[in-house]
């Protein structure tokens, strides 16, 4: 955190120096992060709230560390989505950190949950997996890492609310097939490897039906212990 504050301070100083040196004197774009991340908004919404495209996720309010990890993964090509890989390819770490901080600090309201297209039985199966897991198949409950309120934990574990079923299902599929990976130990890949396609459909559908909690903020680091090690969440 301190390191991040120092990096941000350094960035601000560098930027201030640059503004003096190169920027024209008048008629400049607003010197804000909002203006700098306009390239993100056609897909992710003005405040990172998401758009009508179900495959583009909400960014607002997710933990900054999680967002930063995703930006790094898209920049290096580890996480593959060519339009994102292309946009981020030549942006430096401190800037990606500032982008992550920006979207983490935005709090547009969570969307109303959409009615689900799946049966009650499927939803019940999704709820069971999400809240209790399936010990017999080595599947931990979603809530055991993503939090009892599914709002995630600082700095690296994302909340699962406000995402459409199609997006969650596509991501779980990508983890299962190994096209989405993260730092070792790659906890999500281990978990998703135990899921069947039916599990994925059920969990994604149930998560999308969850109403917004009173406090959608991710809980502070260390609020609860993780059931196993995760490369994206430092101890």
């Amino acid at each position: 955190m301190l390191a991040r504050a120092a990096a941000s301070a350094a960035l601000i100083v560098t930027l201030a120096a640059f503004d003096g040196a190169v920027a024209q004197t008048t008629n400049q774009p607003p010197d804000t992060m909002a203006a700098r991340v306009e390239a993100c908004t056609p897909c992710h919404g003005n405040k990172g709230e998401g758009t009508s495209d179900v495959y583009f996720p909400r960014l607002a309010g997710k933990p900054a560390g999680y967002l930063y990890n995703q930006l790094l993964a898209f920049r290096s090509g580890r996480r593959k989505y060519p339009p994102m890989n292309y946009l981020l390819e030549f942006l430096p770490d401190p800037y990606l950190e500032a982008m992550a901080d920006y979207f983490a600090s935005e709090h547009p309201p969570l969307p109303q949950p959409a009615p689900s297209g799946v049966s009650k039985d499927v939803l019940a199966q999704g709820e069971l997996l999400a809240t209790s897991g399936d010990a017999g198949r080595n599947i931990p409950a979603c809530v055991s890492c993503h939090g009892p309120g599914l709002t995630g934990m600082q700095p690296g574990i994302p909340g699962l609310l406000g995402l459409r079923a199609a997006y969650v299902s596509a991501q779980l599929g990508a983890w299962r097939y190994g096209t989405r990976t993260a730092k070792s130990p790659d906890c999500m890949q281990l978990v998703a490897g135990h899921l069947t396609e039916a599990d994925v459909t059920a969990v994604a559908a149930w998560l999308a039906t969850r109403p917004a909690p009173a406090d959608p903020a991710p809980v502070p680091k260390g609020t609860y212990a993780l059931p196993f090690g995760c490369g994206s969440q430092p101890n």
Binding site: A35, R36, A39, Y86, E89
Partner: protein
Amino acid sequence: MGSKLSIALLALAAFTTTAAQAQDKTSDVIARGEYLARAGDCTACHTASEGRLFAGGRPMPTPFGTIYTSNITPDPETGIGKWSADDFYRTMHNGRFPNGGLIYPAMPFASYTKVTRADSDAIFAYLRSIQPVNQKNKPHELRFPYDNRQLILGWRTLYFSEGEFKPDPTKSAEWNRGAYLVEGLGHCGMCHSPINALGGTSQSDAFKGGLIPMQNWYAPSLTSNREAGLGDWSIKDITDLLQTGVSARGVVYGPMAEVVHNSLQYLDDADTKAMAVYLKGIAEGSSPPAASTVLPTTESSLLISLGKTVYDKNCASCHGPQGEGKPPHWPPLANNQSIEMQSAVNPIRMVLNGGYPPGTKGNPMPYGMPPFAGLLSDNEVAAVVSYIRTAWGNRGSPVSAREANELRSAPLN
């Protein structure tokens, strides 16, 4: 005894000084080599994504198949640890491995041949000083008949002329320094010259611009003021562009963002200015006007009126109602050569995919252009690009929805 000791001490002192001087000299040479390796942008090809510095293994798609770049760390087994400075110079200068084997011209030795022996030695000293990485080179995946290296002999006969840079005595030292960097280490001609079906460029076409194979970005001519020719740019605008990626006249995106990010931002002010002076110097007078559109007049006027609607709704808030922009961060579109030039590939791609200029020391938090691929139809993309190419005195030609559609599937990285 006393005098012997003092002589010994003196000798030791002398030796220490010489050793220290030699050390200084070595570290100077290494630092210079690192600087020159930046100027040559070696890392762009020889470092893979998430890979170790200069350990190679980066796939380079070419029209002839995929080439994997080589390990140039000083590892004796898998890198260039057993090479001598002579070997390295021969590779740079003549495009041959130490054993005489022919190097594929994806390695820009046709440009690097201009590099001086002293500079080649400095780069070699620097490469010798970095962390060795034991990583075997991947075999290339080239299609028949290109997998036969003997074909390179033919290519060399047609397109390779060996020889160090020869200064032009009628030009200033600064111009010559710029020429040396642009034509040699900078290997700008690799993209900014038209590449024919054999993957070569003829001397007379140097810096005349061309579509970069496999990437589908157009690298504009550096000599025509109708493209990226810098004849009517101020030296400051050119140096801003090269060093920071943004300028009052335009901004770099795509492959040129890579060059600024990995290479040009690290060049010192004198070298940047020398390149600017040279680039401004090679720009020729205006070439003939761009070819007129293939579209019938009624169709293009409908397109352009739709284009204005799209522009006013989506683009004017940043680029201004008159295309004036807010330079350098929101580039002007009026009188912007990259919008007007004959190839519309780059403006179409920018509308579809958006883009960020590179984050540089001089511009660490660049402003980005949003991608409109998901918001605009082919017809709307064609319309808005046609509009910005012809409005406000711009002298480009309209483009068709088919051209816009074809670029939707262009590779992004």
